[in-house]
Amino acid sequence: MVASYLRRAYSSFAARVLDVPPRLSAFLFLLLFALLPLTGIGPYYLNILILANTFAIFVVSWDLLVGRTGQMSLGHALFFGVGSYSTALLNKYFGLPYFVTIPLALIVGALVAVLIGFPCLRVKGPYLALVTMAFPLILWNLVKFGGLSPITGGEFGIRPLPSFFPFLPISQQRLAEYYLTLILLLISAVTLYKVANSKTGIVLVSILDNELASKASGINVTKYKLIAFAISGLFASLAGAIYAHLLKLANPATLELTVSFIPVIVTILGGIGTIYGPLLGTYIYYILDLYVLEIMIRVPEEWKNVKFLAFVLIVIILIIKWPRGIAKSVVDKLQDLEEARELEEIERERKKKQKKETTSSKG
């Protein structure tokens, strides 16, 4: 009895308090993130958040490609690495400042995406996933051991790269970087969300749902898939380029398989195809990975690999609990509550009307 009372109390709480329009809730989240550094969290945590912001851009770009068009990419690290290396190479060999090299890196990323897109789009589903997986591995080999290694610095990568705010004292640099990444994340997420919900987005979803019917509707499917590839590659390389300047180096680790797989895990965790879901997923990942497992449980160095396993286990449990992703489940729940309330209101109004009619007929 107590349990049912509590449940009812919770649902009424959820209906009243958690029921905020999406724009407002997005704004509240943004405010929370903007005020977060003011709570006096240490530089270590601030660093985690900076990396999370950057990686979120990468993850969201993956969600546009896979969640919206269904073009399974298991090689998104390619664009991340290309972004990292192009800004680093331009900086090292041409001495350009980062505000020139990063935009150029975006263009390189988009071009690479289109180039990769052409052969990749001949295959579908699991085959596409495998083909895309191969490209970052090839590039990884090239920059680490292969023909490109004399230019790219082999295993050690290219370093040092200029940081974003060299003129500020160290303590404020972190803070400035935090706001910079937050703003860039906001711009990227809003842009991708707009694209996903634009007319182009409708066409992209139609391709995901039924490619044949899209073609029969007169849609040039290849063109739209390439557009999705290019936009996704552009934002992924933005993340890679920022990452390089944050760490002040571009190294082969940006092309590793893990980098390709993390977007898959966190997007499914947050809610695929929603753009806001993967954002939540990324922060959950960073909190789990760098806070819970590193600091709260203090996994010793020799058990580092087990850490990843533990993370995956937690994710599996979360996915079983919320198969459509955490963010998507919450949003759906809220919508259900709203619908129920609307129905209730209609019912109440109907009853009121009935009562009025009966009283008036009596009178």
Binding site: I202, A216, S217, G218
Partner: protein, 243 residues
């Protein structure tokens, strides 16, 4: 000049010849029916016309222009549309967005009247087939009959000069069949040229002026519904030979 002219069209899958040197033509404003038992090659014929399959030999001319071998989206943008035998809605999209997809194709964009948004036009298309109430419902929530109508609204959105309907009556109740017959007649009166592949001969024969009969990929007869009903070859194919 015929609107659609097919000559000597052949297509085989491995050892199986699905369409064997078929030739016919469709004139502007006509309703033509294509009938034949299962596996006669009717759907393959449609897939060849719309470009999902490339013919092994033969020509397909649309308004005097060769279209065989072109990509499907190019053919659709030239003015041919089709519906599918098994409905293929965009399940995750709202019903209205389903109709908006063809309106975002080059031909669809061109056919939207001045100062009209695709949304507005999509709404009108849905009204025409009687689906405006389901406008915001995701297509996965629609019933089979509604999906069949959505399929037609989607095919009509690009305002095709030639509409290919692949078994439009399949799986419909008698009432829905009646309703659809009326809307097809209305389309005909609006000046659409239609080619209908159908199993339900009863519904089809009421609609069309000319019937083409396929059997094992070959055209065995062509004529008015009355002629076809009396044609001994057709009767043999459908019912069997009298001993």
């Amino acid at each position: 000049m015929h609107l659609l002219e097919i000559e000597n069209l052949s297509k085989s899958f491995g050892g199986l010849t699905a369409v064997k040197s078929v030739g016919f033509h469709v004139d502007e404003g006509e309703i033509v029916g294509i009938i034949g038992p299962n596996g006669a090659g009717k759907t393959t014929l449609f897939n060849l016309i719309i470009g999902f399959l490339k013919p092994d030999s033969g020509t397909i001319k649309f308004r005097g222009e060769n279209i065989h071998g072109l990509d499907p989206h190019k053919i659709v943008n030239k003015g041919i549309s089709r519906t599918f035998q098994v409905v293929r809605p965009f399940r995750h999209l709202p019903t209205i967005a389903n109709v908006m997809v063809p309106l975002l194709s080059p031909r669809g964009k061109k056919k939207i009247e001045w100062l009209k948004t695709p949304e507005r036009k999509a709404m009108e298309m849905l009204e025409e087939v009687g689906l405006s109430e389901m406008m915001l419902e995701p297509a996965e929530n629609l019933s089979h009959g509604d999906l069949k109508r959505l399929e037609i609204a989607r095919a009509l959105a690009t305002e095709p000069d030639l509409l290919l309907l692949d078994e439009p009556f399949g799986g419909l109740s008698p009432i829905e069949t009646d309703y659809l017959t009326k809307s097809i007649l209305r389309m005909h009166l609006d000046g659409h040229t239609l080619v209908i592949v159908e199993h339900k001969l009863h519904a089809l024969m009421k609609l069309v002026k000319r019937v083409i009969v396929l059997h094992y990929g070959e055209k065995i007869a062509e004529g008015t519904p009355e002629e076809i009903a009396k044609n001994p070859k057709v009767v043999e194919v459908y019912i069997g030979k009298a001993e």
